[in-house]
């Protein structure tokens, strides 16, 4: 794979250290020396693109290698904007990451925002061993919805693959939203403006996995109503709230052997509600990463 960027993190003198870093236009990595308190051992990488977004036809690929026992965070400073497409050209981003034994990689970006007519395809492949740790947040908003653009792009495709040693598939997921399907994207999304996915994998994520499963169940249990009984009752009480869709829908599932992974899927009416959820759920990663993501 021709790479536009490459970062290698290895243990040097007992600390996670960037031993190789390279990026070329339009991609740029910023690696601040001090993000969290000095006692925590984690490298924070900010990925930027010149022009503040991805232009039609851009094809950006990068590689990450996280050595045994290292901790790395890959994030952004603002949402990834995908500008209007010129002709049928598709913008592409590809990430290939290797995560060593006892290492942590957290991919915690801001959402992707596809402008009207944009075409965007993203593919992330994570190669792990059985005790690697991985957090993936992958999310998209309906577009510049304050300007009236709601699910108005031409194509969005996001692929996430987690492969165990020997290319054994643990988690394979592709979401495709394409104009010109039988049902329009907006129709498939109904009133929801954000679709998000959070993947938590590995032994160090156990407590977060348990917490998020409990929290999601609690949030949703309050939202779900049996229509024949309670709904009728609420109509009589003239409470419109109970006739409306929940503004935040989420569900959590375990995957992989021995339930080693948990995936949470979210559909929400506002971007803020998803930021709030992510911040709350990932807050307990602070000791591992130095700073809590989405703060």
């Amino acid at each position: 794979m021709k790479s536009d960027g490459k970062v290698v993190v290895e243990k040097v003198g007992g600390r996670s250290t960037v031993t190789r870093c390279f990026s070329k236009y339009p991609l740029k990595f910023i690696i601040p020396n001090k993000v969290g308190p000095s006692k925590t051992d984690a490298v924070w990488i900010y990925s930027l693109t010149y022009g503040g977004g991805i232009v039609s036809g851009d094809s950006i690929s990068c590689e990450l290698t996280i050595g045994d026992g290292c901790a790395t965070v890959l994030t952004t400073q603002a949402s990834t904007k995908v500008y209007k497409s010129m002709g049928s050209k598709c913008s592409e981003q590809a990430l290939e990451a290797r995560i060593g034994s006892d290492a942590i990689l957290a991919i915690v970006p801001d959402p992707v925002t596809c402008f009207s007519t944009a075409r965007y395809s993203q593919k992330q492949v994570f190669r792990v061993v059985s005790d690697s740790n991985l957090v993936i947040v992958d999310w998209i908003t309906s577009g510049r919805h304050e300007s009236g653009e709601r699910w108005d792009f031409d194509l969005y495709k996001s692929t996430n693959r987690i492969l165990l040693e020997g290319d054994l598939p643990l988690f394979l997921d592709t979401v495709l939203l394409e104009r010109g399907s039988i049902a329009s994207i907006a129709e498939r999304m109904q009133d929801y403006q954000v679709i998000a996915m959070v993947v938590l994998f590995g032994p160090k994520m156990k407590h977060i996995q348990n917490q998020v499963q409990e929290d999601v169940k609690k949030i949703m249990s309050e939202q779900l109503i049996i229509p024949s009984t309670s709904l009728g009752h609420q109509i009589m009480n003239k409470s419109k709230h109970y006739l409306m869709k929940p503004s935040f829908v989420a569900s959590a599932s375990v995957f992989g052997p021995k339930g080693i992974g948990v995936v949470v899927r979210i559909a929400a009416m506002t971007t803020e509600s998803v930021y709030k959820f992510l911040q709350q759920q990932l807050a307990s990663m602070e000791p591992l990463l130095g700073v809590s993501p989405y703060r």
């Binding site: 939203l177 399907s181 779900l224 569900s251």
Partner: protein, 312 residues
């Protein structure tokens, strides 16, 4: 030999006009007499081609035998129109495979409909058609590649690989468990029912308890279709059909629509269902994807329902 009684009766009728004239030295009612008189007709039988003689075991052919001018034409005509045993047998198998009476447990699943109602994503019968179309499109994009691949190469190795891939791809636990429940049931039923394809049973016996496969539904459906001899387009259409059948059936039991309304809806959706088939059929597993992530999120909520009729 079997035609003798008929010949006998025919002989007697034709004999009647001249039978009244007494013949000396012959006892009219004796058995011997009858046998002697039949000799000319026996000689007639000898002229019948051997292929026709075999066909004579059936009564309607017997009649043709006695109208020699029609005989050859009839014989040729029958040969052309009669379906081959494999074709007709395939159709019976095909119908049985998609029949709701086949105990594969499809009716225990609502494909997220029950959760969607309780989450108020669906607030009335008018939302049902949209929901069914979304389910069909997601089935088309995510599962038809597995049905297709298993149908065109219905062997143990392909099936096991497809099963493992699908297990990693069905990341929603509710949907994954539903797929395993329906697939295991279909494999058990198909291995017992379609005994003329013993490889179904041998593949099942090899895999049960081995831990190698999870028995997901779509690859087993494709495998069964492939082994029965269905073409891949038919098997993919059949998979959309049974999905539509089960969602609409669930809608009637959730009181979203009456049985008559459900039947009308099922027929109305056909045009769109065929368009979905055309769009998503014959794709490789590498192309499999989700096209309605909202549906997947909502279906995952099924586990949180306090009271529920369905397993998924």
């Amino acid at each position: 030999m079997k035609i003798e009684p008929a010949l006998l009766s025919l002989k007697r009728k034709s004999d009647e006009p001249g039978g009244s004239s007494p013949v000396p030295n012959k006892k009219p009612n004796s058995v011997e007499d009858g046998e002697e008189d039949l000799i000319p007709l026996h000689s007639l039988q000898i002229t019948i081609p051997s292929s026709t003689a075999l066909a004579l075991t059936q009564p309607h052919h017997l009649m043709n035998t006695f109208f020699p001018p029609m005989e050859d034409g009839m014989e040729a005509h029958i040969e052309v129109e009669k379906p081959t045993p494999t074709d007709s047998h395939l159709q019976w198998s095909q119908w049985q495979l998609i029949d709701s009476i086949l105990p594969t447990g499809g009716f225990a699943h609502s494909f997220g409909l029950e959760a969607a109602i309780q989450a108020r994503i669906i607030s009335g019968p008018e939302d049902l058609q949209t929901f069914v179309i979304h389910v069909l499109e997601n089935t088309g994009s995510l599962l038809l590649p597995f049905v297709f691949s298993a149908t065109i190469s219905p062997d143990l190795e392909t099936w096991q690989k497809l099963d493992r891939t699908l297990d990693a791809m069905l990341t929603n636990e509710v949907g994954r468990k539903a797929s395993i429940a329906q697939g295991s049931a279909l494999m058990r039923v198909a291995a017992a029912v379609f005994s003329e394809t013993p490889s179904l049973k041998s593949m099942r016996d090899t895999s049960v308890g081995s831990g190698v496969v999870s028995f997901h539904h779509a690859p087993i459906f494709g495998l069964t279709c492939g082994l029965l001899g269905l073409d891949s387009r038919t098997s993919q259409r059949a998979y959309l059909f049974i999905t539509m059948r089960d969602v609409i059936s669930a809608a009637t039991r959730l009181n979203l629509v009456g049985p008559m309304g459900a039947a009308v809806l099922q027929h109305q959706i056909v045009v769109l269902a065929e368009a979905i088939l055309t769009k998503w059929m014959d794709r490789t597993v590498e192309e499999a994807c989700q096209t309605t992530p909202l549906l997947d999120t909502v279906q995952g909520c099924h586990a949180y329902l306090f009271s529920r009729l369905f397993c998924s």
